[in-house]
Symmetry: C2
Subunit: 143 residues, 2 copies
């Protein structure tokens, strides 16, 4: 459903949500160990997210990636859309076509409801929702 890259990206953004803001940017070098994602690869993913305006970044000394107030209101789907594309996550359990069309597949009535519920979660859950009240970083990044 979600690619590995999307999982990585989500974890990266969660880290930023917990550890960064406009005044405290964080370098990939300092976060890749905690979220268990290869440094260069995580950098690529975050750059992609930044390029699409899902997260923020500045270059140079004191630079790094961070989440602005606005960024925190982004949904998980915003991340997934950039990395995997919407099509991938919404595709039918049995094929490539979009789910919920006029011609549902055999499995649709069995799993379709679950799938669209999952998508709703991605769409309706913001970064802020996930981190509110939490500061115990480690629990966020299981191996």
């Amino acid at each position: 459903m979600l690619s590995n890259s999307s999982k990585y990206a989500i974890k990266g953004v969660l880290y930023l949500a917990l550890n960064s803001d406009e005044d405290h940017k964080v370098m990939v070098r300092d976060m890749h160990g905690v979220v268990h994602v290869p440094e260069a690869y995580l950098a690529k993913l975050l750059q992609e997210l930044s390029r699409h305006g899902v997260i923020s970044s500045t270059r140079g000394p004191k630079g790094g990636f961070f989440l602005s107030k606005e960024d925190r209101k982004r949904s998980l789907m915003d991340i997934v859309k950039v990395i995997d594309g919407e099509k991938r996550v919404k595709s039918c359990v049995l094929g490539v076509k979009d789910c919920d069309t006029d011609q549902p597949c055999v499995l649709h009535k069995l799993v379709g409801a679950n799938k669209s519920k999952f998508i709703k979660v991605l769409e309706n859950t913001t970064i802020l929702d996930l981190i509110e009240g939490k500061r115990d970083v480690e629990e966020f990044f299981p191996v």
Copy 2:
């Protein structure tokens, strides 16, 4: 969640459920067009399923793949386990570890229930369940 290969395999087995029995075996050549899976690749997947006893086959003239009475009682999960492995489908939304452990991830409470419901469907739905009453082959194999 499910690999493309698993989807192919499920579609192949569904075709066999609708079009084969002990006395009417079917060759890959005759089915790959209907289920929209490359011939040689489908052959490989079916061979794998047969090797693991999920479906049946015999070689030579009048040979082919088919589902025995027993085979029809197999669950979707039996197919997925052979092709993808159980780990892959059960893994956590955010990582590689198994879901539902003592240390659930941040997303678990949001999506975990959906995921385990999906797995339950795979485990509890048999081939027979899917085809009962149906003979309209085409609706089963959307593009």
